[in-house]
């Protein structure tokens, strides 16, 4: 690794990513409270909706916590960037792992019925389908869990995963180890 050659221990490069989800997993991340200060000593937050101003996903990321299902073209594009530039991808929360609540639109079979339902059938009079290429990202036909699209190293279920669970996953990762999560405190859905 490049950082090793400088002889000072290289700080872990950590990212958090927000795809199709409610951001609750990120709120839970913030619930780590004072442990966030410890985290900041061990890791640089290189990309995050709650901890960084970076607008593009950087290269050479060690750990990425990816919240949310993959629902639209932007989500997919960002996910592919994350995968290409990240060593350890953590599927962060139920939406990332199961598609969860965003995935409930899959029962309507395709993006078109979803848009019609939302913007025409439920509209009060003057509904119209949103159409703004290049501005509003196109919906994918189905919302998919992250691992159905790219390989995932660690799964951190929960809606949201409680702060202690996030810490239980991050601590070994910061030491370069794969967390062994088990039991109802650590891998429960919901």
């Amino acid at each position: 690794m490049d950082a090793m050659s400088t002889n000072t221990p290289r700080k872990t490069r950590l990212a958090t990513v927000w795809l199709a989800g409610c951001s609750g997993c990120h709120m839970s991340f913030l619930d780590l409270d004072e442990w966030l200060l410890e985290l900041a000593e061990q890791a640089d937050i290189v990309y995050s909706p709650v901890g960084s101003d970076a607008k593009t996903y950087p290269a050479d990321v060690d750990i990425a916590l990816v919240e949310g299902g993959v629902a639209n073209a932007d989500n997919l594009e960002l996910l592919l960037q994350v995968r290409a530039n990240t060593r350890t991808l953590v599927s962060f929360g139920d939406c990332a792992i199961t598609a969860n609540i965003p995935g409930m639109r899959n029962m309507l079979r395709g993006s078109d019925p979803v848009l019609r339902r939302a913007y025409l059938e439920l509209a009060d009079g003057s509904g119209q389908l949103p159409h703004a290429p290049g501005i509003v990202p196109e919906l994918l036909e189905r919302v998919l869990p992250v691992h159905e699209l790219v390989p995932v190293e660690v799964y951190l279920p929960g809606c949201p995963p409680p702060a202690e669970r996030i810490r239980a996953a991050l601590e070994p990762l910061l030491h370069g180890e794969r967390p062994q999560l088990s039991g109802s405190d650590q891998i429960r859905f919901g």
Binding site: S91, D94, I97, T98, A99, N100, I101, G103, M104, N106, M107, R109, R142, P145, H147, E148, V152, Y155, L156, P157, C159, L181, S182, G183, S184, I187, R188, F189, G190
Partner: protein, 243 residues
């Protein structure tokens, strides 16, 4: 009463003849996961979670996979309850159940008290290796007190059995077949229209997931009560009540 001895994992156990492997394991405090099984109802061996590896029965040495809930213990049986092969089967079974329905734990009425959710933890399912199928299913809210959300139904048929075997009303049955199977009430009509229903709520009590629920309950508020069935059956069989 004749007794037979068998070995479960590393425990030698003596049980009365006719005891099921599930009961024998319980006696030895060896946990075997179950889902469709419920004490007080007939066993159907449908969920396959309680499969165990059995050898030494009928002079057969090669281990066979048998459902513990319906297999009687016999003399000299050797039973393994948690081999890697069984663990793989159990995890796959839970994944198959999660992916064939729409189990959104976060917003489920049974969140936190769901047997399926607990089993996912038990088998170490932190994600499903099989893709989710997102089927189109319906919710029946026609009954005045209760609801049935087919999205969360795993077809364990506990409701069918309790209504037939205990309540005697036979409101429920399984309709269609294969991937199209669903629990039906009456002539596939809304539950609220079925006059045979006595509104006893036993089906709701024994449902392992949030499929059958009290309409007043919201997220995480449903607690199943299989123990009520067991108390009822005990009272009927032994004329003893726990007031």
């Amino acid at each position: 009463m004749s007794v037979c001895t068998l070995r479960i994992n590393d425990h030698d156990i003596a049980v009365p003849a006719g005891t099921t492997l599930l009961q024998a394991a319980q006696q030895a405090t060896i946990p075997i996961p179950t889902l469709c099984f419920l004490e007080g109802l007939s066993a159907v061996a449908a969920c396959r979670l309680c499969l165990v590896e059995v050898s030494g029965a009928d002079g057969r040495e090669e281990p066979r996979l048998l459902a513990a809930c319906v297999t009687a213990a016999t003399e000299g049986m050797r039973v393994q309850t948690h081999t890697p092969r069984l663990q793989e089967i159990r995890r796959t079974v839970i994944e198959l159940l999660f992916t064939e329905g729409n189990h959104v734990c976060a917003i489920c009425v049974a969140n936190g008290h769901c047997e399926l959710q607990n089993l996912a933890v038990e088998v170490g399912m932190d994600h499903s290796r099989l893709p989710y199928r997102f089927p189109e299913r319906h919710v029946d809210l026609s009954h005045p007190q209760y609801g049935l959300d087919h999205n969360r139904c795993i077809l364990c048929t506990r409701c069918v059995r309790v209504c037939d075997e205990v309540e005697g009303a036979h409101v429920w049955d399984v309709g269609w077949r294969g991937e199209h199977c669903q629990i039906i009430s009456g002539l596939h009509e809304p539950w609220g229209d079925v006059q045979a229903c006595t509104h006893c709520g036993k089906c709701v009590d024994v449902c392992p997931t949030g499929a059958l629920f009290h309409k007043v309950d919201t997220s995480s508020e449903k607690h199943g009560h299989p123990e009520r069935l067991q108390r009822l059956m005990h009272a009927r069989t032994h004329q003893q009540w726990t007031p």
